[in-house]
Amino acid sequence: MQRKILTLTWFMVGSLAGLLMTQSGLYAQGRGGRGGGAAQPQNAKAAAVFDPTGYWVSVITEDWRYRMVTPSPGDYQGVPMTPEARKVASAWDPAKEEASGDLCKSYGAPALLRVPNRLHITWQDDQTLRMDSDAGKQTRIFHFGDWKPAAAAPPTLQGESIAQWERGGGRGATDGSLKVATSNLKAGFLRKNGVPYSEKTTLTEYYDLIKAPNGDPLMVVTIITTDPTYLTQPFVITSQYKKESSDAKWNPTACSARW
């Protein structure tokens, strides 16, 4: 009898220890629940909380008239623009962009996932994720780990992106997010009709993988654009991408200032 009680006691102590270990892990996630989990292994590819690789097609169910066609001049619905931004946008003239050869202003990182496109996402190496867009033939590079941008690097259309996995804490195969922070951006357009963003713009994105009702993977990207020059508040939008089984519909096209 005494032996049974001792065994039971050890079992209960063990349970308590295990629970403490588990709960401390969950507690570390904090109230927001993301970003505070266990230390990430060095290898981002091995540490991925979901598989972002493959071909993805944009599903355009929102902001259709600003995305699938060129929005009318002066159509800025929904964008929290400063008066200066309106002034800049009202001077939009695609002919000038064509004359200067600057055709990709609406394909920069803050706008690229609003373009009707297909994405091809691959691991460039164990610490670097590469995202190609067929529309505009653009490439974004997401650096994990302790990557640092080159000093005094010039701003570019896709900027410099630092990525990290944010773990959820459950058992789900898709449990967690990819967070990407982008800066050092060349100025461009949030919409093709000249709604501007400046070189001071920074971008934060959260990539989540969810399942459609039929079980198909769907990538939801929450995009937060902050620009002290042309936006009165962070511009928050969400784009979604459906997984495709092949590159059959991959259709690289050049940037266009008008379409």
Partner: protein, 295 residues
């Protein structure tokens, strides 16, 4: 190894190896960010703007018969407010958990009501949905599960409602799946409408919210029925081929009629090739241009 040590190790291993299904605190007031679909969520969409909606023929025909005046009928004033109104309306959310009074375990999450939308109670205790012949109402019946930090809610048993506030309808056979994804003080809500009667594939909308210290009101429902003077026996509608707004999107924004009439193909990039030569960029935006959302 003694049995005591074995007991200790086994118990600890069991607890560590199988962590509790993660949950996340969604409670609080979430202020809607209406930068996306600003017009659709705010003042309401233009008539016959169904671009990006995966209509089937029945869905399109029903929508084309819709006259906005129909909601002046006392019996139809409140017809459209299902839980889809979270996606189609402009409103903020207030959420809270309902604990079991004995165990403290969360029995349900509630998304508070707003005006004409009823509260969404998301049962977390594993109860089944009612049988298929159970009554339907605008609230529907919702259960939820956690996938890590993602709360997935499934709503069935809704009445016929709308998908877009310009006549695009959902049927009483529709299922709404709502995914709650929290990133710190930002909440992303992705909603699927899966309707075998009016849609050829699930329709998705995503919405964003900021955590707010200003409490979101949770007033309503019920929707209040009023008499706006529509004579008894008249049901405002348009007969086939008679909807006067079919070319509204073409007149306003140069968007071809075939795009405005929706269908699954309008959701995907390759549809642009089909309308490229038909689209005419207006010289200037003349209606619903910049007076909502963040402007």
């Amino acid at each position: 190894m003694t049995s005591n040590k074995l007991s200790f190790g086994l118990a600890a291993l069991l607890c560590v190896s199988f962590p509790a299904l993660a949950e996340i605190d969604l409670s609080g007031s979430w202020a809607a960010i209406n930068h996306e679909d600003s017009l659709e969520r705010g003042g309401g969409p233009n008539p016959v703007d169904w671009a990006g909606l995966p209509f089937n023929e029945a869905g399109r025909a029903k929508a084309l018969s819709f006259s906005q005046s129909i909601i002046s009928m006392p019996e139809r004033i409140c017809w459209f407010q299902t839980q889809w109104h979270i996606a189609a309306g402009p409103f903020s959310l207030r959420m809270w958990a309902v604990p079991d009074p004995i165990t403290g375990k969360v029995q349900a999450w509630v998304v508070g009501a707003w005006e004409t939308r009823a509260p969404m109670t998301i049962y977390m205790d594993g109860r089944p949905h009612p049988g298929k012949n159970a009554p339907h109402d605008q609230t529907g019946f919702t259960t939820g599960v956690w996938n890590g930090n993602e709360l997935i809610a499934t709503t069935t048993h809704i009445k016929t409602g709308y998908i877009r506030r310009n006549g695009a309808a959902s049927s009483d056979q529709a299922t709404i799946t709502t995914h709650f994804l929290r990133h710190g003080d930002l909440l992303t809500v992705a909603l699927f409408m899966d309707d075998p009667v009016y849609l050829t594939e699930p329709y998705i909308l995503t919405r964003s919210y900021n955590l707010s210290t200003n409490p979101v009101a949770i007033g309503g429902p019920p929707c209040i029925v009023g008499d706006e003077g529509v004579e008894s026996g008249r049901v405002p509608h348009y007969l086939p081929g008679k909807n006067p707004f079919v070319d509204e999107m073409t007149k306003l924004y140069g968007i071809p009629e075939e795009a405005a009439l929706g269908g699954a193909e309008t959701m995907y990039p390759e549809f642009r090739e089909k309308i490229k030569d038909k689209f005419k960029l207006p010289a200037k935006c003349v209606k619903n241009c910049a007076n909502a959302g963040g402007n």
